[in-house]
Symmetry: C2
């Protein structure tokens, strides 16, 4: 069980193939920090350009944006998932606010420190691009499983594919994520 910064970074990097060598890890480490933040803390704020991405070690987060004054949730994340704004990574303001749903432990990645390393170390470049590539496949899936599908189909798909969402996220948030009203979600659950 990881107990300090170096160990946790290690445990995370272990998941990546091909594994990062010592050289890459030495370069990355000064740009990675362990953080603890309480529920409701905002990691990324809408319309701002943050220089950080995060790994959720323990806890949960949501991403949402405002549309006609109401919050629309775009995703939820849990243990071992990267959270951050792809638009921030591309030097654009984030459209979304990323907020913690639970008291959480995180690794913060200093993107401005890491980007230059991508030119000198191909493993780091592959590592970042693998994270983006996986996110891209996730977005394709999300479009595929929501486009032209009924409220019930989207609900049952989410229940099948990410059951933990229903255990840790308020239904109000899940409703807008599914693109339906709270009332409709309530009725779908009632069967």
């Amino acid at each position: 069980m990881p107990v300090d910064s170096a160990d946790m970074v290690d445990a995370f990097f272990e998941r990546y193939r091909p594994k990062l060598t010592e050289t890459a890890i030495v370069l990355l480490t000064p740009n990675v920090k362990v953080l603890h933040h309480p529920k409701k803390h905002e990691l990324i704020k809408a319309n701002q350009t943050s220089g950080y991405a995060y790994l959720l070690v323990k806890g949960a987060a949501r991403s949402y944006y405002l549309h006609n004054g109401t919050e629309i949730n775009s995703w939820f994340a849990f243990e071992n998932e990267m959270v951050g704004s792809l638009r921030n990574y591309n030097n654009l303001p984030s459209r979304e606010t990323i907020e913690l749903l639970e008291d959480s432990t995180l690794l913060s990645f200093n993107v401005n420190g890491i980007k230059p390393l991508m030119a000198e170390n191909i493993e780091i470049s592959n590592f970042i691009n693998q994270v983006i590539g996986e996110y891209c496949l996730y977005l394709e899936d999300k479009l595929y499983y929501t486009h032209l599908r009924s409220a019930r189909e989207r609900y049952t798909a989410l229940l099948a594919q990410e059951p933990n969402v229903f255990k840790r996220v308020p239904l109000t948030y899940i409703a807008s994520f599914l693109g339906i009203s709270r009332e409709t979600l309530s009725r779908l659950r009632a069967k």
Copy 2:
């Protein structure tokens, strides 16, 4: 105006920043070919794993998949756009068929030949990852501009952002792309 393979490859690579050096282009060139295919030709087939990606030099293409026996169009592409299957790139079968909407001129990229080059040449790696990164931003935009929006909002957004789609793609295809019925699209157009 590019007239042969090398020239067209060049014209395409010119668009990328930072520009590829001669070394990178020499490595890539044997993996790139100029092709001509007629309307209705299928570049990528659903449920198969193709080893090629394409740049549309001249012409148009669509990507679609079958859902309950009907074709759902997931995107349209025109001049100077890359077309291919991200799932194929990740060694997964494509969910979609990519079909030409017009007689077209293309550059084909041999992905199996190019992938090994990414390890030895960081410019090639950056080039591929830039294409994927831009696609990822496009997917985020598409989700953002369709989620929880009415048929009329999605229609007017497409009309504003990609007016050429309405000039070169049959309305039947556009309807499923927008996630609405042909009849509804017709009524929206009638204002």
